[in-house]
């Protein structure tokens, strides 16, 4: 192509672009160039939870109320960033998925999301809080007000194990306590295979310290990771798994939690502790592995860490009653069961747990047992508005101990000091 023609091509391209931009900016065909169309209902959701079951509910809701449903999906950090921007500018969506219990409380106390008790008490058919597992409800309440409705309820602390590897090492059932766990881990560690695999994400430490009766925080008393001896024991044990007994590789600092699952799927780890979200990838990625799922270990106690998203209504939402109605539809037991069938996600309703479909499924049965032992969450921390900050500090401390082999006692002490100062 001769030089002149290339140049003209570029100019032409740029010219068309500008015309296009200007033209579209002016034309009536521009999507929503004016203020938010009142017949639009905007929802912020996590990209990983875009289940068909929800889509049907949302579409139907749009038809029933003659609304254009704008179902926006994001990764959690992006959703948080965008929501922060929205709260500060007043340009908010109509319904938001809450990343975990306590987030709603934090936003609620800042005046950014509504308290939902009035809606719930006027709507007996919905069954809140009665039909919902206690821990899921309580973690979302502060001083008598509820700031979000639980949507999913999962537990971190389930024991995933490779049945074949365990039986090859002479174990026909999974470990049930810490001593057995270490025994199995040592027996299954050989060559390239590790007995277990710890996660770089700090929230995965929770099952372990909860099993030593340690509470992450007591914001009212400005105490963190207490009682101290339990905290020391649990974190030291985790550190020893990696550096002393060498039954787990040191995790890598990344922002993705799938490291242990990948290792397990690659048959390079015999066990790992996680939540139901890792079941799907293992089944899909390595169908040849005979996956065993066991209830959480018992340390001083048997315990698991609660997880699971919720639903919140922004304070400046255009029509909170409408938003509430959608919540009731999305968190209905029928829809919960459909989502479970579709994605294996576990749910907060007692009626869900009692449903024959759920009770009959062995994995779901194990999960339900784990849900029954989830540790209590400190609502005061969320209420203080400093939860995110303290979690950042914990992440640093955890990674220092587990990746960088920092002395446990000192690191815990530093964490306590910094967290206390943050409050």
């Amino acid at each position: 192509m001769p030089p002149i023609a290339r140049r003209s091509f570029l100019q032409l391209g740029l010219g068309v672009t500008v015309l296009g931009a200007v033209g579209t900016g002016c034309s009536p065909a521009t999507p929503a160039a004016k203020k938010q169309d009142p017949r639009t209902f905007t929802i912020y959701w996590n990209a990983g939870h875009g289940y068909q079951a929800y889509k049907e509910v949302i579409d139907q809701f749009g038809k029933d109320h003659d609304l254009q449903m704008n179902w926006q999906k994001f990764q959690w950090p992006d959703l948080t960033t965008k929501l922060t921007a929205d709260f500060r500018s007043g340009n908010v969506p109509d319904l938001v998925e809450e990343v975990s219990a306590g987030t709603g409380t934090q936003y609620g106390l800042a005046g950014n999301v509504l308290a939902l008790d009035e809606f719930a008490s006027a709507d007996k058919a919905f069954g809140f809080p009665g039909d919902f597992l206690d821990q899921a409800v309580v973690a979302r309440q502060y001083e008598g007000k509820t700031y979000s409705i639980p949507l999913h309820l999962t537990a971190n602390g389930l024991l995933f194990y490779n049945k074949a590897m365990l039986s090859a090492a002479g174990f026909d059932k999974p470990p049930s306590n810490w001593d057995e766990f270490l025994e199995v881990a040592k027996a299954t560690t050989k060559d390239k295979v590790s007995g277990c695999s710890l996660n770089s994400d700090p929230s995965y430490a929770a099952p372990y310290y909860n099993q030593q009766k340690v509470d992450f925080s007591d914001a009212g008393a400005k105490q963190f990771m207490m009682p101290a001896d339990g905290a020391l024991r649990s974190l030291q044990w985790m550190q020893d798994l990696i550096f002393t007994h060498k039954v787990s590789p040191a995790p890598v600092a990344t922002t993705d939690y799938s490291g242990p699952q990948k290792l397990f799927s690659a048959k390079r780890a015999a066990m790992f502790v996680s939540g139901p979200w890792d079941i799907g990838p293992i089944r899909q990625g390595s169908p040849d592995i005979d996956l065993g799922l066991a209830v959480p270990l018992t340390g001083a106690v048997q315990s698991a860490a609660m997880a699971g998203s919720g639903l919140m209504i922004p304070a400046k939402a255009r029509d909170p009653k409408l938003s509430w109605e959608l919540i009731t539809k999305l968190a209905a037991v029928k829809v919960e069961l459909a989502a479970t069938k579709e994605a294996g996600m576990s749910m907060p309703r007692k009626s869900w747990a009692a449903d024959p479909a759920v009770a009959a499924d062995p994995s779901l049965g194990t999960i339900a047992k784990a849900l029954a032992v989830v540790a209590k969450q400190d609502v005061a921390l969320s209420a203080s508005g400093k939860a995110a900050q303290v979690n950042e500090l914990w992440k640093k401390a955890y990674q220092q101990m587990v990746i960088q082999h920092a002395p446990v006692e000192q690191t815990l002490a530093d964490f306590r000091k910094q967290a206390g100062a943050a409050l």
Binding site: P3, R6, F9, L10, G13, L14, T17, V18, G20, A21, T24, G25, T30, P31, A32, A33, K34, K35, Q36, T42, N46, A47, G48, H49, N70, Q72, K73, F74, Q75, W76, D78, T81, K82, A85, R88, S89, G90, N91, P93, D256, Y257, S258, Q261, K262, L263, F264, S265, A266, K267, R268, W277, D278, P281, I282, Q284, G285, S286, P287
Partner: protein, 275 residues
């Protein structure tokens, strides 16, 4: 007879180039490998050097899961319009700082430069609030206006215009040319390599921009490509195959743009040699 720096210098040069070229390209070739893997291979935990089957369907899955065509257009309009705006305004302002003297010049230049020193997310929220009240959310102007020109481009042009001979400008003035005409006819034509570089980098940067389009849009039809790509990560794991496929699609226009501006860079030699 070509001069030699040292015996075998040409071979040494090639060795270095090939080695660096491989280090540069292999990770990206691996991205192609990732894009063609199946879901099972991606989740299996074992990295795959060559997939069982070449899953070309990953590309179509992208288009099925979301209106990728629309994302593409949005990205193109946004990046294209911003690039054009930069090419119009940055050299003009750069010329003023490079060749003119006026009271307040030093302070103005420092002020302009200082705008580079604050991360974008610092000015993002007030702009978002203003745009929300103007109804510019979910619009092209909302995406474009914050980036019409910037200190980077102005600084780049200033540096390139500075060494140009003042005699040329003086001569044109003596000939009676108006100031703007001097800029258009004398200065701009000399800047082709710099304009090519500016256009390329502006386009690439805006094409890959994520944070502002994330905040400034709330409807799927107005999303841009980089945001569209995040739709494929599940909550607890990254769907590498789809993400990589999307990354490749994202990459194609910037590569094309580069090929086009390549020629301008080469022509620059010829032009400067004629002086």
């Amino acid at each position: 007879m070509r001069e030699r720096l040292f015996p075998g210098d040409r071979i040494a040069a090639y060795v270095v180039l090939v080695a660096l070229g491989l280090v540069t390209v292999l990770p990206l070739l691996y991205m192609i490998v990732l894009a063609l893997q199946s879901d099972a291979e991606v989740q299996s935990g074992d990295p795959v050097l060559w997939p069982e089957h070449l899953e070309w369907s990953n590309f179509t899955r992208l288009f099925e899961a979301a209106p990728f065509g629309r994302f593409f257009v949005n990205s193109f309009v946004m990046a294209g319009a911003i690039t054009l705006s930069h090419l119009i305004f940055d050299p003009l302002v750069g010329y003023v700082f490079a060749k003119m003297d006026f009271p307040g010049k030093r302070i103005a230049f420092v002020a302009v430069l200082s705008t580079l020193m604050v991360p974008f997310f610092v000015r993002m929220l007030p702009i978002y609030s203003i745009f929300a009240s103007l109804g510019w959310i979910d619009s092209y102007q909302g995406l474009i206006v914050p980036f019409l020109m910037d200190a980077y481009g102005i600084f780049l042009m200033r540096q390139f215009i500075r060494p140009l001979p003042d005699e040329l400008i003086e001569a044109a003035r003596v000939d009676g040319a108006g100031e703007f005409r001097i800029y258009l006819r004398v200065i701009l034509p000399q800047c082709k390599p710099a304009l090519a570089v500016l256009g390329l980098f502006t386009f690439v940067f805006q094409w890959n921009e994520f944070l502002w389009p994330l905040i400034a849009t709330s409807r799927t039809e107005m999303r841009t490509l980089p945001i569209g790509l995040t739709l494929f990560n599940q909550e607890y794991f990254t769907q590498w195959n789809l993400t990589a496929a999307g990354a490749l699609i994202l990459f194609v226009p910037t590569a094309l743009f580069f090929v086009i501006t390549q020629k301008f860079l080469v022509e620059g030699i010829a032009l400067s040699g004629l002086k």
